[in-house]
Symmetry: C2
Subunit: 256 residues, 2 copies
């Protein structure tokens, strides 16, 4: 049974998609069969891995409305051992359509049950909200990675996110753990960055990853070429930091 | 009758709240009576103007559910001529609760009708989604400012946003115009920034503001002190760029 990890934070622009694309690619790079599911109607994970929006035929939307199974719509990517379940604008309607349906929070969880041992890791890239698509992801997941931008507003939102995790754990998914808190866009020259690191370390203690993702322009350029940073600029600080994060992630999951 | 301007873009972290706080403060600085409404459950505009989360008694949530009027819940800020309608976590439930209610898209519009001539400008800080809170804002607004971060994913989302504006214009608010497209977090030393500027200028033509907001750490530090940048660091590039934007905004609205 694959380990299912949601990548979530309702604060916008904190590096959820950048982490989803680069952690999943690095896991594949280390030989771990990985599936990335794009749960965001912006479909940034889909295009960041090179899929053209117009070419996407089937998406997670159909799976949530039980019109297709995950096995039938997942597609290979340029990276060996990494497959993708794409997203597109159809997902915008999903939040409203799911509200009136039965077991609206557990549809993704049930769809993933059918995958068996195809993958070692399944990552879920969440949208910047605490709506039904994020709740579906947190309900299906064994654990959650929380990307935290080294800025003031990022700290503010943590209370709300922890509250949502508690509600999901109490009502929908008692097994939900914190996989880790990841500091992103860290800039050692800026006081604010160091202050946030200090606060986050107090809040999450040893759940914080030692690896901090630096602000690095290669990470922002790579999606424009539809490639993860290890293919776009493998010697960059951005690529090196995501390889280091992946080794830390694997170590926490008993893989040396 | 006040001019109502929504600040919207479903892409997360592009500078919506930073623009909402600093444009509204600079409008007040130039003597224009202004009201800022925080439509985001993250309530970043509320805390960025110095309101402590715990002290917020009444929010826009009650207005949307017709339990309070805007006049009764708006509060003054530290800045003369600037009032605020705060937000808090209650808004998370609003999206789901509104789905089943009558005239769910026009509640904000109707609530604003009651304000008469109290203000010259009313700004709406939208959350990073195209759900009912953003739709309410676009339905109530005369125009919309679109902050666009100078990064790849920011370009990707424009098509979806324009599509939503078209749907709102056709079904809910035929008067909705584009007030302007604002380039944010611009860094002249980075190729990517200049490429995005070029693409955005082609897309929006003269709707793009001449003023580009540079990446400037004072803009990221100011919310930690609960102050707009013109109070926190008035000689910074960040403050100067928002003052320049405000002069451009006023010029487009016939105020020299
Ligand atoms: N470490 C980094 N250094 C530089 N740029 C980065 C870094 N991480 C992410 N970015 C850029 O910052 C922007 C926001 O990142 P990203 O889109 O991954 O965040 P997100 O949390 O997924 O956003 P959303 O809330 O919209 O889903 C993107 O343009 C991305 O390319
Ligand atoms: N020009 C700038 N220079 C430096 N930092 C900035 C600038 N504009 C915004 N920021 C910082 O970038 C982060 C994102 O900005 P902001 O929160 O205003 O975006 P947003 O679009 O409102 O996000 P959300 O989608 O979560 O509502 C914040 O930490 C903010 O302080
Ligand atoms: Mg994303
Ligand atoms: Mg905001």
């Amino acid at each position: 049974m694959a380990k299912i990890v949601a990548i979530a934070n309702q604060k916008g622009g904190v590096g959820k998609t950048t982490t989803a694309i680069n952690l999943s690619s690095c896991l594949a790079h280390y030989g771990q069969e990985t599936l990335l599911i794009d749960m965001d109607s912006q479909s940034n994970a889909t295009s960041g891995l090179g899929m053209e929006k117009g070419k996407v035929k089937h998406t997670i939307y159909e799976v949530l409305l039980e019109k297709a199974s995950i096995e039938n719509i997942l597609v290979p990517t340029e990276i060996d051992w990494l497959d993708l379940v794409p997203a597109n604008v159809d997902l915008i309607g999903a939040e409203v359509e799911l509200v009136g349906l039965s077991s609206r929070e557990t549809r993704l969880k049930r769809a993933l049950n059918g995958l068996g041992n195809l993958y070692k890791y399944i990552l879920l890239d969440c949208p910047p909200s605490l709506g039904l698509l994020t709740v579906n992801s947190l309900t299906a997941a064994h654990s959650v990675i929380i990307p935290i931008q080294c800025e003031y507003y990022a700290l503010e939102g943590l209370g709300q996110l922890m509250n949502t995790l508690r509600l999901v754990r109490e009502n929908l998914n008692p097994r939900l753990q914190i996989e880790g808190a990841l500091l992103t866009m860290f800039d050692g020259r800026v006081n604010l960055s160091s202050q946030v690191v200090e606060e986050v370390s107090k809040f999450f203690k040893q759940a914080v990853y030692q690896t901090k993702i630096p602000r690095n322009v290669r990470l922002a350029e790579a999606p424009g070429f539809g490639k993860p940073v290890i293919l776009y600029s493998k010697d960059s600080k951005g690529a090196q930091s995501y390889l280091s994060l992946t080794r830390e992630f694997l170590k926490r999951n008993g893989v040396e």
